[in-house]
Symmetry: D2
């Protein structure tokens, strides 16, 4: 069997919305594209978008942003590893300068270390403008590793990536120290809207979130994760906008918090690790570029603003899909009925 380049896998894609969005990044109604084989996701997320327009919008708060790469070097022993770290961590100006030689966007935000025996792991955390920044921080880490091995000849190369980064893998470190955009999406939904649009009540939603996402997640041995299906919306949005979609792994580690209040439902999705960029990936893919343009993420803005807008659009999409699925699960039998009807219809 001979290899042959096949141009494309055609991924079914539909625009959902518009979603009404407010918060510290944007105030606007925007439709979003979702590329997925799981087509019931479209009407389900669409229902959440409809609620957003009637409920005053999804409030999206961007809390933090950074991209990370960790290197690991080998010292003679733990004492030497610690001494090296003390010295390296005191030279942030020089480190900043080394990074500046690799990119005009990358800027050091913080460094963290773990020392295990004689192994020194250093996690470099950078701002990366509008890019998600995988390559930018890898380039920076590569240069920094060269600099470290030159300045500290007693250290040995172990790996350009020490898994403390951590990229496309389950971890606690990304949530605790940050990787990608940290976005909180939330909405207050009146009792009337709960009933009419979501066929549920605030009390049912809060109880489901407690019993399924929090307690069910706990017994499943989850890690920094309490939600129903963030991954579905993330994947569809990532693929339609040219992201490195394997980062749904970090992205999936988010938390739903819901409260039944006298006036209705408070519903929030916290996404501490949303790794998206409006430049850099999916290059040369004209559909992806068009999608980004249509989302308003290719505008002439200060570096980082298009990227943040994209993150907020993604978080709002996650909330719409999560809200709708959870509402369906509050009623026995509804999930199967609607899912199959949509999928087969």
């Amino acid at each position: 069997m001979k290899n042959r380049v096949q141009d494309i896998t055609p991924l079914p894609t539909e625009w959902i919305g518009p979603i009404s969005i407010t918060g510290n990044v944007m105030e606007e109604q925007v439709s979003v594209p979702m590329a997925t084989y799981e087509t019931p996701l479209w009407p389900s997320t669409g229902r959440g978008a409809r609620v957003s327009r009637q409920a005053g919008g999804v409030r999206c708060t961007l809390v933090d942003e950074r991209m990370t790469r960790s290197v690991v070097v080998r010292a003679k022993d733990g004492g030497a590893a610690f001494s090296a770290w003390q010295s390296i961590s005191s030279r942030s100006d020089e480190i900043q300068a080394v990074i500046a030689t690799t990119s005009r966007f990358a800027k050091l935000v913080d460094m963290n270390r773990q020392i295990v025996g004689n192994l020194l792991f250093i996690r470099f955390e950078c701002e990366t403008g509008d890019a998600s920044g995988h390559n930018m921080v890898t380039g920076a880490a590569d240069a920094l590793l060269g600099w470290i091995l030159q300045e500290y000849p007693e250290l040995e190369y172990a790996s350009i990536s020490g898994n403390l980064c951590t990229d496309k893998k389950v971890s606690a470190v990304n949530g605790i120290l940050g990787r990608g955009k940290y976005v909180i999406a939330e909405m207050e939904i009146s009792r009337e809207l709960c009933t009419k649009q979501l066929r549920t009540t605030p009390e049912k939603m809060a109880q489901l979130n407690l019993e399924k996402n929090l307690i069910g997640g706990t017994v499943a041995g989850s890690l920094r994760s309490a939600n129903a299906h963030f991954a579905n919306m993330l994947l569809a949005f990532f693929l339609a906008t040219g992201q490195d979609a394997a980062n749904i792994i970090e992205g999936s580690q988010g938390i739903v918090h819901a409260e039944a209040r006298p006036e209705g439902l408070y519903f929030s999705c916290t996404l501490p690790n949303l790794i998206v960029g409006s430049v850099g990936s999916g290059k040369g893919n004209s559909v992806v570029e068009q999608n980004l343009v249509r989302l308003g993420c290719k505008e002439d803005r200060a570096p980082g603003e298009n990227g943040r807008r994209l993150a907020v659009l993604c978080a709002a999409t996650v909330l719409c899909g999560e809200l709708s699925l959870l509402a369906a699960q509050t009623n026995p039998g509804e999930l199967m009925r609607t899912h199959f009807k949509m999928e087969r219809g």
Copy 2:
């Protein structure tokens, strides 16, 4: 802004290989498709495939298969929840019969329970033929939940999915109890091949796996996960074959084990949660169907055999890509040089 259905997102796809495969499912050389925006993945995985052909093949052992869905019901108290479980768990024949009404392929393999206070979580584990089985087990669980609520009127509906399943989320339960196919892919690589094809040594590879994947993963707060980038290969293979690609989350929770032996490198990738199917998803997508045909996964075989073949092909692909990236990371600077050359060139 008005919604409009957009047909497709065109995902760059290339066939890699052939990979030489042996083991308890198949003995054959097969090329595999990878759909991805991260195009350096193609030559990198291709290098692993080349090694497989020269090293006698990737041995793939299928250890287990099952698909799961958990329901959660509410009892008066923990004592009542336990009594209900004792009764339900003794009625597996009736449960088997209820499942049989929902699908001719779904067969109960096992049940597990967790009780938290008055909440009873039951995890139903089924064989699902050639399908990955998401819908099949959800359908079964829906019927079982109806049956349970009828037979045990003292129980209340809490959720059709209690997150003990767990689908598309980080967990420990899937690895420990099983979800999807459990496949071990492994290869012995001579010292000569290590040097010539991978520019590394068995000792360097074993040390990198120890320091980066195992220790680095540990300090990152990983959970049942020790690898560099299983997720990349999984995503590309899943998208090209019409899988529910959000299941890369479970899939990414796998383990590399490598040993330096006198004769060369022993290298293995253990994937306990490979969720794939040769039927059922990506329906109507002719490219996906063609890919499955070309992979030999649409043959007229006993139920489950096409699905198992697909799982083995996927695991072998993961090994090829993992081997190649780790080899690159044993050498300072190589990752950046080759990655950028491939991406930009």
Copy 3:
């Protein structure tokens, strides 16, 4: 400096209660001993015991019991490891017989396996009568390992303990597969009792449990753990009754579930991994023996009954202490005031 045997470390100990207990193991009011340097634990747990007597008792449901030890052996490759497992797992009668040669109490309940590359981990799970069973299962595993290496000469010894057991370490496996006693302790507390004895309300308690134990635990990167301080009560009870107190690590991985109901507070502590025994440890320590006698755990009963009684007493103690501390934390400032007042006397 020369070594010298020092007889004892005198650990302050007080009896708390009585706690009123109901459920599937016992119905009785029993006082319990707590050995601790953290003396405010006594009045705090005592308050919970007082509530138990007025609220109709702590209902304790024993759900499961087993003790475990895992061995690990090395095969030529993953295929050989899997073949060995298939054979071994089919010979449970012989395994049962090997175990019987090591103890008259140990009985095989289940076996589980994990295969990583060429490594085969087998987790043996046994009933162990009234003993916590550490030594009993280690003895059984030692004999089984000898038997395995004799019957399967293609396997090599790797370790008598493969950490899949897992003893005195954080894990998900113990909660999911079971280790020690699985006990649910729960209580319904009227609104009046909440106000008078606990200075709180059902709503405040449920909200605190949600926000602190479940959500706070999630962001902390907890694993199968959602409580405030199970460990304190476990430690004090374990030390006073001669347990292997390092098992508080598994024990601490438990879950509080609380609900505000019209009639009051539903409060539960689920302890899936309570490792206690009424025989076997702390031998020759007469105070410990007296404590066990006073607890009614040295009676002439069927094997296992004294051990189960001890587990239930321990779980009820945990609930009393957890309830009291959480109630204090619902009120700003109360924790510090009462803690320091108690500690400073």
Copy 4:
């Protein structure tokens, strides 16, 4: 049954060693007390101590120290929570001043936040002199919470402890951000010593650590933990020195890293969360005080120095016990033979 105060539980205690210790805190040979019901721990740890004296000592590197408490407050929404955090985090001088009113030893080292929906968790990290600092940081957090609620009346009290601290519970946060002393204990052991004293080889030890602690731990679903039994030594040392022994839970989350080198075995125990103090706990217990005096931890030194010495002594003890047990486990049958001989003999 009437309650009665029982003075003490007498815990068997023996002094082990002396252990030879070097590193950045002390250079000295010191015997250590271990209070435990599991008496085989004494000779086993003693064997490790003997090796330390012949191998040039356990090198102990203190990397960090801090004690933590997290509060949680409720805002109107996530946007308000983030605004409050931005303001609070900019006022570290005032926060330092509030802390200073509660203790002359507590000093703010860092603050971390997690925001989940409308919930703001703030983790205060302080130096606490020679005390482990539980009460000191709780007192500081209590004052800070009062100050926050006064300065930011839009925030509501949720809990004085938000479990992001996190105390006596499994977590990833403590290892990543730090809690207690971070100590690396390590030793190089010649091949001759491996053979004569430990009946093993460097290669066997490195392989056992890989297969059991790292891979076995991974399949068990461990979290930031790769060791055999740190908990045993921690518990015995903590009880003999009046520590809050429930902190063995954090303490147990440490990592063994071992390497076979041409000249012998490199063996290290990394303990990122060693929570000990030479003042403050076990007050009025004269045996504990005598033990601390004998350990040289009640000297007239700068604040913190006695506490750091105690942490290093504890870490060295952990290494001695871990080394000895792992060595025993490299040989089939040895664990059982020696354990039972010691326990029964």
